[in-house]
Amino acid sequence: MDILNALVAILNFVIIPATAYGAQLAMGALGVTLIYGILRFSNFAHGDTMAFGTGLVILLTWGLQALGLSLGPLPTALLALPVAIAGTAALVLLTDRVVYRYYRQVKADPIVLVMASVGVMFVMNGLTRLLIGVDEIRFDDGARFLISVSQFKGWTGLDEGLALRSTQAITLVVAALACWALFRFLNRSRAGKAMRAYSDNEDLALLSGIDPERVVRLTWIIATALAVAAGTLYGLDKSFKAFNYFQILLPIFAAAIVGGLGNPVGAIAGGFVIAYSEVAVTYPWKKIAGYLLPDWQPEGLLQLLSTEYKFAVSFVILIVVLLFRPTGLFRGKSV
């Protein structure tokens, strides 16, 4: 019984939240890594693309709710997601046409493109705030829990409760679907192969007749779709606040770099590594120890690091990885 309690406590406070957060980071990191792999620069505007897309989702969700449309137990936002992706992709393609294309044509250094993306980031920042404001917005509707704490306690009679929010489950399902579709697309379809060829060797790809502008457009569209989906899932699970999407850029980049920039598998793995290290390393084991070793009553919390340091944890991992495997865990391009 005590072992079960310990297990449930770990599931409830470490594994479930870290997995959902990891999936959100992974989807963000996938977008970053795709841009890096194919367009060869770190896109700092990614976080604000997520924010802008999520802002569109929220506006559309309100519209749908006003029309009385809903998905039953699922959040209405999922219905709005494809339209918002199309809208955001249009904006991102316009940005590419106006800003990035020029730098590609003059074959500017990657650092120039990075700086241009910082500029785009600030513009997007402002656009998002004009669109939806700076306040915190919750837009999840439908059923809130798949399993709630009181239900779980009722079913099992355990002391520890377990909660699984529907948004956490949706996050995992959507993230898994998106990854599956992305890998299938990259490995099987002609366009996907063209993208990989362009990423591996630009000149050879051009020689074999691949249209570079088409590859670039596709990359932007896919990265935007991932960004908006990640932003929406994150907003559903927590809440929408434009500033938070700027903050989340750091862990997303950490995830992409730890996994290996330019490597999609690495981005996913990196997302989970960062999320788990933030949650698990700072978790106090006192309660678990209390269940497993009832005779031992520790004075302290059995906490490795206090939660203030959780961001330090992901950056320590980042530094260690960069020192010993500069191309990341999964052999991406070196930074």
Partner: protein
């Protein structure tokens, strides 16, 4: 020649003498910066008191009071020091209502006000650090110290039988000061703190914090944060994972937004925030309405009281020299004496001119204790039925 010189000196002396009767009050507030939305109403509050005094004609045998504003930005201590420096040296004010935020108040008080012998009465700086500061008697505040709030919160929790608590606070002067004050009083009264964990505002994910707080356990979770920031993130996570059912909220969390967000989920929770109630407050809100601004805006009433206290103390000391009237501030604010409400400043001035004692009640039931800070009236609130209910004031 000698006569001429003497005459010039005499006129100059007379001139300054006459001008010295007219008092000037500086308003050092954050007109730009993180609290820029509050500052205009606070300035209106202080200016309302000044207008009332001028209209009564009772101030120092009919002299006038003028005010001058200075932007201290709230966030930038250097800018605040410069602003107060300007008030003292070039505007030559006789007293200052301000500063607004704790950090810049400490800086401008230590660097400018105390060395120059200038009285500062802050309407809104609440950090406990200001209680122990070496102010040489020049600093007062019409808002309570967060140390006081920590004590009130500890009392409420003990009365409600909450014997152990986990504490999470926003990682800044406000959160840390409040959490530490609370810890001291709560442990004195026999409560035990299972964990004190800071959280950063504006972060994406609070699962780690919630996990740590839940593992430490306790009868309740004290959330010394901001409702529009990490505080709500922590409460959401703790509710969803079933970590805590009872929450204790200090002033940064108590607002309609909290109720809108969590509604009936806060059934067992409670909290407190400084909120003067009663006749003085009602009268002030009415006065403000006649003057064309919202009197219930945060710290507007405290600003009115700060300005009123400066002018009443000048009257009591029969001097507009801050080094002289600073000793009268506590006397004017506290009992014994005739109670003075908002709108009765003229009467207060008249009584003081006759040499009688007054007890300024004002808009916030001002009662200065300790090192010259408001004792603070708090209201204890509950969230039964998904609504914000005031249980009692203390």
């Amino acid at each position: 020649m000698k006569k001429l010189l003497l005459a010039t000196v005499a006129t100059a002396a007379l001139g300054t003498g006459a001008a010295a009767e007219d008092a000037k009050i500086g308003l050092s507030l954050g007109f730009t910066g993180p609290l820029e939305s509050m500052a205009p109403m606070m300035a209106r509050g202080a200016e309302l008191a000044i207008k009332e005094v001028n209209e009564s004609g009772n101030f120092m045998d009919g002299s006038q009071v003028t005010s001058v504003q200075a932007d201290n930005t709230c966030a930038d201590a250097a800018a605040s020091v410069a602003a107060v420096e300007r008030l003292v040296t070039s505007e030559k004010v006789n007293g200052i209502v301000g500063g607004m935020c704790s950090g810049e108040t400490i800086a401008s008080l230590e660097k400018v006000a105390v060395p120059n012998g200038m009285v500062m009465i802050s309407p809104s700086a609440t950090s406990p650090a200001l209680s122990d500061i070496d102010d040489k008697g020049f600093f007062f505040r019409t808002s309570p110290s967060d140390a006081r709030q920590g004590e009130v919160m500890a009392d409420i929790m003990i009365e409600r039988g909450v014997e152990s608590a986990a504490v999470t606070y926003t990682n800044n002067d406000y959160g840390k000061g409040l959490a530490e004050a609370f810890k001291r009083f709560y442990e004195e009264r026999g409560g035990s703190i299972t964990v004190m964990a800071a959280h950063e505002d504006g972060k994406g994910d609070y699962s780690a914090e919630v996990g740590a707080l839940a593992a430490a356990g306790g009868d309740a979770l004290v959330v010394a944060g901001y409702v529009d920031q990490g505080g709500s993130g922590i409460v959401r996570g703790a509710l969803d994972s079933g970590a805590f059912e009872t929450f204790v909220f200090p002033d940064g969390m108590i607002s309609q937004a909290l109720v809108d967000r969590f509604g009936a989920e806060l059934e067992n929770s409670f909290g407190q925030n400084p909120s003067a109630e009663g006749e003085g407050r009602d009268r002030f809100v009415e006065l403000a309405q006649t003057d064309g601004f919202e009197g219930s805006s945060a710290f507007a009433a405290e600003s009115y009281d700060a300005a009123a206290l400066i002018m009443l103390s000048m009257q009591a000391a029969k001097s507009i020299d801050p080094k002289v009237y600073k000793d009268k501030v506590l006397e004017v604010a506290n009992a014994p004496g005739e109670k003075i409400m908002p709108g009765e400043l003229g009467k207060g001035l008249e009584l003081l001119a006759q040499g009688q004692d007054i007890d300024y009640v004002g808009a916030t039931s001002a009662e200065l204790v300790g090192a010259g800070e408001s004792a603070g009236v708090y209201r204890e609130v509950e969230f039964k039925g998904g609504e914000l209910n005031t249980v009692k004031t203390r």
